[in-house]
Symmetry: C2
Subunit: 118 residues, 2 copies
């Protein structure tokens, strides 16, 4: 069976909780299906929760940035939440940037910034 | 790789979006890991989103009811959201009940009833 990451819709925001290691195919599929859903539901925000992800390499970072850019081009905001300390340090060591996305410590804080949580 | 359903935490509520056919092993694993998480995070509510599920048989219904009961025993509320019309009709034809859980039309409504959404 083809593995796919579930996209959850809360009001007009989309949420993907990545609880598996992100390999290249999976990340590209996610990008494609997210863009499609953003358009279909007129999404205002997209949140990618990576708190369970222990390894993010430079290729995956590029895809995350690409997702952020495309989401912004389509008029919505993109948040990456829950980057682990070790992942953050690796990103710095690799010299990669996450400049096309917003970041938040956790899901609740991103939902608050999108004004969804009470 | 062992397939597992991602459990998402929003404040003190747990959310599982079931976007794959629920087979027996998966449902039992879900029950076990949900109970563990309910305890760990002092969950107030558990939401199972089955809007993508096209077939729910009587065994799965029993597990869903069991999850609902155990969640209630632990002091939280359980919602099943997004039961499709065809699934609802099949459940009636089979004479099964979903009496241990609350139901809601969609995720937003369940989140509102748990007083999470603004």
């Amino acid at each position: 069976m083809e593995q796919e990451l579930p996209i959850i819709q809360i009001r007009n925001c989309l949420l993907v909780s990545i609880q598996t290691e992100l390999h290249d195919r999976l990340a590209l599929d996610l990008q494609a299906s997210l863009m499609e859903r953003v358009r279909n539901v007129n999404a205002r925000g997209v949140i990618l929760d990576v708190s369970a992800v222990e390894v993010i390499d430079s290729y995956i970072t590029r895809i995350l940035n690409d997702i952020g850019k495309s989401v912004r081009f389509m008029g919505a905001e993109c948040f990456i939440v829950g980057i682990r300390p070790a992942v953050a340090m690796t990103l710095i060591e690799m010299g990669v940037e996450l400049d096309s996305v917003n970041t938040a410590l956790n899901l609740d804080l991103a939902l608050e910034r999108l004004e969804l949580l009470q």
